[in-house]
């Protein structure tokens, strides 16, 4: 094997060891680069270690690679990118997440606000919500296929199930945590009904709602991949399962990396919300 992974690993360790000598403006770029380089180097070396010799009856020996190298993965990704597979499947997956997650927010936030404010709504609905919540979205796959078939709707439903409960629970907890003085001010000025929700309960809970959205979206993205392996015939999860069945592990790894990158992108999008004035007031202590 080429010795470059070892050189890269040594170089990375040198970067880590000397990082104290450099200002943050330098290390905020060099440290993540060094970590990435070390990761790739370790990956490459482990590929080499996992190779084994296969002896044929005629005495010939063949090195069998078990695991794709970073380079092979990159080639596979490039190929999938060029033939449009990645773009098509990413769009399919993101569309399902957007639909399911959006639906979960539309249902979960009002429901959470209502259950957080009204003790009677809480008493009536909380046992049901808390019993449904621990059921893994994966466990819903058979029913989703039964109801919706091998179609988008099945995957959208699974994303919805995975994110609606974090949204309800998070929003409800946010309402329960509203300082008494805000609620009393609202009562003092005779806010009630829709106005109470619009002017106090929703804005007071919004920072925590956004945090719940971030968590729920992360879960959604994990669930969609699992759902697509079974419940549909497109998307990044399907890509991975399909590549595995074709014994093409470079594509499997390429698909995984793609899932990681898109996940980072989705999280970045939702974090934009944290910069809004309506949200920032509640997060200022953290930043």
């Amino acid at each position: 094997m080429n010795p470059w992974p070892y050189y890269v690993a040594i170089l990375s360790v040198v970067v880590f060891a000397t990082s104290r000598r450099f200002p943050r403006s330098v290390t905020r770029f060099t440290l993540p680069l060094a970590t990435t380089a070390l990761f790739l180097a370790a990956w490459r070396v482990s590929c080499h270690w996992m190779e084994y010799d296969l002896r044929f009856p005629d005495g010939t020996i063949k090195r069998i690679p078990v695991f794709p190298t970073p380079y092979e993965t990159a080639v596979a990704m490039e190929q999938m990118f060029r033939d449009g597979t990645i773009v098509r499947y990413t769009v399919a997956s993101v569309y399902r997440v957007a639909a399911g997650f959006g639906l979960a927010c539309l249902v979960g936030v009002p429901l959470g606000l209502w259950m957080g404010w009204s003790t009677r709504a809480f008493d009536a609905l909380n046992p049901l919500v808390q019993s449904l919540r621990p059921i893994s979205p994966i466990a819903w796959i058979p029913l989703a296929i039964l109801w919706f078939g091998i179609k988008d709707a099945a995957a959208i439903y699974l994303v919805f199930v995975s994110s609606v409960f974090p949204m309800v629970t998070g929003t409800m907890a946010a309402v329960h945590g509203i300082p008494a003085a805000y609620v009393r001010s609202a009562q003092n000025f005779r806010l009630s009904g829709f106005e109470l929700y619009r002017r106090v309960l929703f804005p007071a809970s919004l920072p925590q709602i956004v945090t719940s959205m971030r968590i729920a979206l992360g879960v959604s993205w994990m669930v969609i991949v699992a759902a697509e392996m079974i419940a549909v015939d497109s998307g990044l999860g399907y890509l991975i399962m399909d590549a595995r069945n074709a014994n093409n592990y470079a594509r499997v790894c390429g698909g995984m990396m793609c899932i990681g990158f898109v996940g980072v992108g989705l999280d970045w999008c939702i974090r934009r919300l944290e910069h809004l004035d309506e949200v920032r007031w509640g997060l200022s202590k953290l930043t």
Binding site: Y182, S185, N188, R199, L206
Partner: protein, 252 residues
Amino acid sequence: MIPTPKIRLRGVCKSYPRKNDVLEVLSDVDLDVREGEFVCLLGPSGCGKSTLLNLMGGFATPSSGTVAVDGDAVEGPDPRRVFVFQEYGIFPWATVSENVSLGLRDKPKAEAASIAQKNIELVGLQGFENVYPSELSGGMKQRVAVARALAVSPDLILMDEPFGSLDSLTRLTMRAELLRIWKQKRTTIVFVTHDVDESIQLAERIVVLSQRPGRILDVLPVALEHPRDVGSPEYVRIKKRLYETMGVRHAI
């Protein structure tokens, strides 16, 4: 004819049930507050003075006895009786002018805007109308709370240690500002504090409460002209008497 007092409390008791017994917070409180009067409720922490204020504001109901404002029994919060909290009173997600307009939702837009503006100017916050509370200092936030209360032209302002979380210099300024506004508006104010000086500087009448269960130990008129000199013999006499009533040694 003797006019009905603004607030009339008769035989007010308040207790909360606990696991094995009952926590008695207020015991047999009788008190009248006149129209336009500035009254301070003074007492040690946990003596039930905030509870008493909550009863007047309609946020709690007495276990026995009656709480009446303008002769009518208090039955819940009402914008005619506005509460000013120590903290978390104004909404951090709304701008200064949105906060001040909270009680003006029923008014026509133009009228609401002009009332809000007038009260923002009254508390000296002109130029900060579109600013969020997080960008304001503690004293300015309490000015917003006062402006929000005044905007609905209440009959009664109930203040629960409103300057308690401010630094001591800002607190002095805020006291002076509150007096300036009170003299202009003559709204009845009931002001809860545990600070002896604060009560003497502000109140026309000081109501001293005992340790829990809170009962009225003394009602002391303060017949001093503003600005009140903290070194004047009368001031010192009142201060001594307050400390004696509360059973605290003031010379340390």
